[in-house]
């Protein structure tokens, strides 16, 4: 069973990409809202909001990673598992990018009816698979994704402890 999953050294770059994209997006939106929060929230309350956001980002990163790992375990090994840091990284970028696109299309009122959603998901998957295929064939694209995964790993040293502290803070707020 263990052989069906990629190694930890292949998983970490993918988790790094997911974390940087999700935490990064939330950080930008957080700064966008901050000016209004400063009008009526104390610094302590704003820190609590950051804790909620941090835990949410951790959960969404881990859930997406879990989906990719499940896919790696279920699909033929050469499709995803064998080169997980590259193909998984490409899929992670595609997933986050398609979410951003969906949210943007909704904002500009260009998102189609719910009946089109399966097409959306199919399109995103096809694009992700195409990108991962291109990444494994075109060296510069592949190198770029692996490089991103490696470089982003350093952020895990900040983001993961921050999320753990956030979990403790929120548990304390729920219990007391």
């Amino acid at each position: 069973m263990k052989n069906r999953f990629p190694t930890l050294t292949q998983i970490i770059p993918v988790l790094s990409i997911l974390c940087v994209l999700f935490y990064g997006w939330t950080a930008v939106m957080f700064l966008w809202k901050l000016s209004s929060w400063l009008f009526f929230l104390t610094f302590g309350e704003i820190a609590v909001l950051a804790a909620y956001a941090s835990v949410t980002n951790l959960v969404e990163s881990l859930v997406l990673l879990g989906i990719l790992l499940l896919a790696a375990a279920l699909l033929p090994a050469r499709w995803l598992k064998d080169d997980f840091s590259l193909r998984g990284g490409a899929l992670a970028i595609t997933l986050a990018g398609s979410m951003l696109l969906i949210n943007h299309l909704s904002v500009i009122d260009r998102l189609g009816p719910v009946a089109y959603w399966p097409l959306w998901i199919l399109g995103a998957l096809l694009f992700g698979m195409a990108l991962s295929s291109i990444a494994s064939r075109v060296t510069i694209v592949g190198r770029a994704i692996v490089w991103l995964g490696d470089q982003f790993s350093v952020f895990l040293f900040i983001l993961l402890p921050m999320s753990v502290v956030s979990i403790v803070v929120l548990l304390a707020r729920m219990l007391f």
Binding site: F22, W25, W32, L41, L49, Y52, N103, S106, M174
Partner: protein, 518 residues
């Protein structure tokens, strides 16, 4: 001293046991006896209900026949004002008895000042009461979260509604920050500051859930109308009123007096009257034509025709809500559940359909935006009483606390309402909109209102690009606020401005930072 016999010991033991039992049960009995004397208080708050649109107050369309029915055995307040012109300041003023310049819930989504939160209505009525809080408006829910420790039953906002799995603030109902974090930021929600969700995945899931709800079979076959929606979940007014009826029935059966605060979203927009009401008021009536205000950008102003159309659907929705209220009232009366109950019917703010503005999020503070209904029916009251002196929603808390024998908070702006022990003399009534000011600083960019007798003074101050604007109206002779008397009656304007400035500068004083620390 003779020895105690076995019989004596048995006697003493039984007396001691009986005494201990009596000592345990007596306070409970006394408590129950004390509670039995106390009346129930049922507060029904209809969000965004403008008094000038109610036939109860003389509006041309028959929007509120059931309110009028209750009015026949209630005290009707004809010049009642909200503390602010949208939910946050308006509701906070009701629940704290303070004007916004004191409670500082002035910004969209902003809570009551932390050191004053303990002075809320629920704590003030005390633990003799079974205290129920329900806020269908998420900003009202924000305050109920802030006062959660003082509630015995805190109904989730989507009770009696089509559940929204993305309403994530339910994870921790005690925490006001959970609402701001999830429903206002990470999932999306009100989208006042940014149209994008704070968390990408939650935003996508919310879109999927929202679109799924729109096509839900439960919501089909409802005729040519939209389903009521509060920005977070869909619901049907009938189901909500049925749920409130059941809640009241259960509370009344507890043998303990209850205070029920029920904050309905309707008739807040989007207006969604049921089929029975969508054809009403095809009378061609127009909203009063008024000049555009200098603070309203001409390019954002709505044409009068659009305001006419909005006004008609709003009136239909009020009639719809009134009918549901009538049904609730009849059911409660039929089961004698109102016999020892005060009924308080009010709103947190009004709605504008004039000067190019539709809604309650502009800077304007004209009467339709802040003049709200207030009816209070006492247990056993059989005749109507009309009160015409200006009153305010800040008077609700002290009046209810007096009815319930509770302990009023140390700081209060409100006073006892006339008809409930209040003197009924003329006193200043304030209202304000300071959403563009910081809650932690003096409210220097805001719209202020002072009502004294028939006169109403409006001060628009600090808006960038505009000079301070002062307006004075005589509401008795000019209820439509069309003839500005600030120039023609400068003495009254000056006197009222001095009174307003004195009050607001006193309220701002604790927030002025020493020079060099700005």
């Amino acid at each position: 001293m003779s020895k105690l016999s076995r019989r004596d010991i048995l006697k003493l033991t039984s007396v001691a046991a009986g005494g201990a039992l009596a000592a345990r049960t007596l306070p409970r009995r006394l408590l129950r006896a004390r509670q039995a004397d106390k009346p129930n208080v049922l507060i029904l708050l209809f969000d965004t209900m403008s008094a000038p649109h109610l036939s109860l107050y003389g509006y041309g369309r028959a929007t509120t026949p059931n309110f009028a029915r209750l009015a026949e055995r209630a005290t009707v307040y004809h010049a009642h004002y909200s503390g602010g012109c949208y939910t946050i300041p308006g509701t906070a003023s009701i629940l704290t008895g303070l004007y916004p310049w004191h409670h500082r819930a002035v910004n969209p989504g902003g809570p009551v000042r932390r050191d004053l939160a303990g002075g809320n209505l629920f704590r003030a009525v005390g633990t003799d009461y079974y205290r129920i809080g329900y806020g269908q408006n998420m900003w009202a829910e924000l305050f109920l979260r802030q006062f959660h420790a003082d509630l015995d039953l805190h109904l989730p906002p989507d009770s009696f509604a089509f559940r929204n799995p993305m309403l994530l603030s339910g994870i921790n109902r005690r925490d006001p920050m959970a609402y701001i974090a999830f429903d206002d930021f990470l999932v999306g929600g009100v989208k006042l500051d940014t149209p994008y969700p704070g968390a990408l995945t939650l935003g996508v899931l919310d879109l999927a859930a929202a679109r799924g709800r729109n096509t839900d079979r439960d919501l089909e076959n409802r005729g040519p109308r939209t389903t009521p929606f509060n920005g977070y979940f869909y619901y049907e007014n009938r189901a909500v009123f049925d749920g409130i009826y059941e809640t009241i029935r259960t509370a009344a059966g507890r043998g303990q007096p209850y205070l029920g605060y029920f904050h309905f979203w309707a008739p807040h927009g989007p207006y969604a009257p049921t089929e029975a009401f969508t054809g009403l008021f095809a009378d061609g009536a127009k909203v009063p034509r008024k000049p555009l205000h200098p603070l309203i950008e001409p390019k954002t102003a709505l044409p009068d025709k659009a305001l006419d159309a909005y006004s008609r659907v709003y009136d239909q929705y009020i009639a719809n809500v009134d009918a549901e209220f009538g049904r609730l009232l009849d059911r409660l009366q039929a089961e004698a559940l109102l016999d020892n109950t005060w009924i308080v019917l009010l709103s947190d703010h009004g709605q504008l359909f004039e000067r190019g503005v539709h809604g309650h999020s502009s800077r304007l503070v004209y009467d339709p935006g802040i003049h709200v209904p207030l009816l209070i029916s006492a247990p056993g009251q059989s005749a109507r009483v009309d009160v015409r002196v200006p009153t305010s929603n800040v008077d609700i808390l002290p009046s209810i606390v007096a009815l319930t024998g509770g302990q009023p908070p140390a700081r209060l702006d409100g006073a006892l309402l006339p008809g409930l022990g209040g003197a009924g003399v003329e006193r200043p009534v304030f209202a304000m909109d300071a959403k563009e000011s910081s809650a932690f600083r003096p409210l220097d960019r805001a719209s202020f209102v002072l009502i004294r007798g028939a006169y109403k003074l409006i001060l628009y101050t600090g808006y960038p690009g505009y000079d301070d604007l002062l307006e004075l109206y005589d509401l008795e002779s000019d209820p439509g606020e069309l003839r500005d008397l600030a120039q023609s009656d400068p003495a009254t304007a000056r006197r009222m401005l001095d009174e307003l400035n004195e009050a607001r500068h006193a309220a701002d004083a604790p927030f002025i930072r020493p020079k060099g620390n700005q």
